[in-house]
Every structure is written in structure tokens, then in C-alpha cells.
Symmetry: C2
Subunit: 128 residues, 2 copies
DNA sequence: ACTAGTGTATTAATGACATATAACACTAAT
DNA sequence: ATTAGTGTTATATGTCATTAATACACTAGT
């Protein structure tokens, strides 16, 4: 997996996990890849993966069975959805709208870009 | 000035300068605050401000007269506008649209949020 | 009991960042 | 000439986040 340079790797791994939960790839009590497995897969140190998992565990997104692995929590999807939506509405969107002001982009333009994006990325199956 | 904790201060200072250029607060050949002045103002070490200014100078946004100060470059606004717009279209927007997919937010909803934002922040004078 | 696979914990190495100092050089105003 | 204000350069320091290395402990299956 390729990581961006401007954010900690463990944060990007966290995001990866969250997205898979949102996409429905992993449901309640499904097992997520083991720390070592994911570390190899992503070409990263196991501790880096562990840090991501620890954070997710602290937030009750995943839970752990010692010696066995990590698993998706009961209400993980709901929780991730809420967190993401909150972040989207309170952080991301205001920044975007603010930037639009600075760049003199109105809502009609935004719609054009949206339609464009919609057309381009026509590979949306949500759940495979 | 209050800084966020998740980005280097010198990057945030850079952003501050760029935004003031976009807003029209500083035009061609206007002088920006001196390194020492801005450092005091923002309660930060002069070297931190200098780092921001150096970056901006490397990108031909500002230029320097030794012993006198830093000034806004001829085509600074145009340049910043281009850079910001490129970043907006190629980075920010795709992320937002992607996030909308994950959160099942359609374009009509987005419009609602936009109208809401439009109403709330009715203190837009662009140039004072 | 053994083994392979899992997580846990401690410590170390590295690098980015911000700060603190200080000495220096240039410019404008007096 | 002097002074005050500017930028320039260099060095040292401390802190913190991130990642890596390593040894340890638990669990299941045989």
C-alpha cells in the first residue's frame, strides 16, 4: 500500500480500516487481518499497525481476543458512520465552502464538478 | 494567533499569507509584516516565520529587499489562485465526493448544507 | 508438550519541528 | 557616523511523533 507523506502511517491505516467497515467489507464479529499479516501486506512495521488497532480499540470500533486476533465490534459501522459524518459536516465541508469563497467558485460550478466526478468514476458497487 | 496541532506552524503561517493575498489584503509590491514583527504578533520564534517566508519566496509569491523587508510579487495573486484552485480540484474535491459516497450523501443534501453555510456566514465583504 | 500464530510491552533510532542565541550585513533616517 | 530596523546565517538544544527492533506472553490445535 502506498502512503501519503503528510500524515502518519498509522493514521492512514486507521482510515483504511474505517473505510472497509463503511463499505461493508467487514461486518460485526468479522476478524480483521492480524497485526503481522497486515504489516507484511502494507510493508510496514507490526508496531505501526498495532498503533492503528489500539486507537480503533480505544474507540470501540474493534475488539481483541488475546492470542487470536482483532474483531469488528457490534455497532462498529454505526459508530464509524456517525464519527465520519460529524467530521464531514463540521470540518471538511466548512473548509471546502470557505475555499470556494476565496476562489470565487459558486455552487453551480460545484455541481459541474460533481457531475464530472459522477461520470468518471462509474465503478461503484459499494459492496462487492 | 492560534495554531492547529496537526500541522507545522510554518505551514499554517504560509497559509495565512496566501489567504490574505487571495482576499486582496495585500497587493503587488505591498510590504508584508517583517519577520520579527510577525513573530511577536503570532508569539512564535522568528526562525519559524522565516521558514514560511523562505518557502513563499522559493515559489515567487513574495520577494525580498535585504535590510528592508518582504514584498508581494507581481503576479502573486494569480499564482496563488492557480495553485489553490489546482489543489482544490485535484485533491480536496475528489476526497469530498468520495466521502459523500461512503456516507450516502447525495448532491441535494450537499446543496442543503451549502445554503445553510451561506446563510450563517453572512459577513462576506471579500475586500474590506 | 509442542508449535505456529496471535497480541503485548519495552526500549531504541530517527527525524521533524520549534526554539534560543548570537553574530553578521544591509538600508534608511537622523 | 550613528542608530534602529530589517534580513541572513549558523549552531545548539530540547521535545515530540513516528517507526523499528526485540523479547515476551497468550491461545488453539495437534
Amino acid at each position: 500500500m502506498k502512503f501519503k507523506n503528510d500524515r502518519p502511517i498509522y493514521i492512514q491505516i486507521e482510515k483504511f480500516i474505517r473505510e472497509n467497515i463503511l463499505k461493508g467489507k467487514w461486518g460485526s464479529d468479522d476478524r480483521v487481518p492480524s497485526i503481522r499479516e497486515l504489516a507484511v501486506d502494507m510493508e510496514v512495521n507490526p508496531n505501526t499497525v498495532m498503533r492503528a488497532y489500539s486507537e480503533l480499540q480505544d474507540q470501540d470500533i474493534i475488539y481483541n481476543k488475546r492470542g487470536i486476533g482483532y474483531f469488528i465490534n457490534e455497532n462498529a459501522r454505526k459508530k464509524v458512520m456517525q464519527q465520519s459524518k460529524k467530521n464531514f459536516l463540521q470540518k471538511q465541508l466548512p473548509q471546502v465552502f470557505n475555499q470556494m469563497e476565496l476562489l470565487n467558485i459558486n455552487f453551480n460550478e460545484l455541481e459541474e464538478y460533481y457531475r464530472e466526478y459522477e461520470t468518471k468514476g462509474e465503478d461503484n458497487e459499494t459492496i462487492k
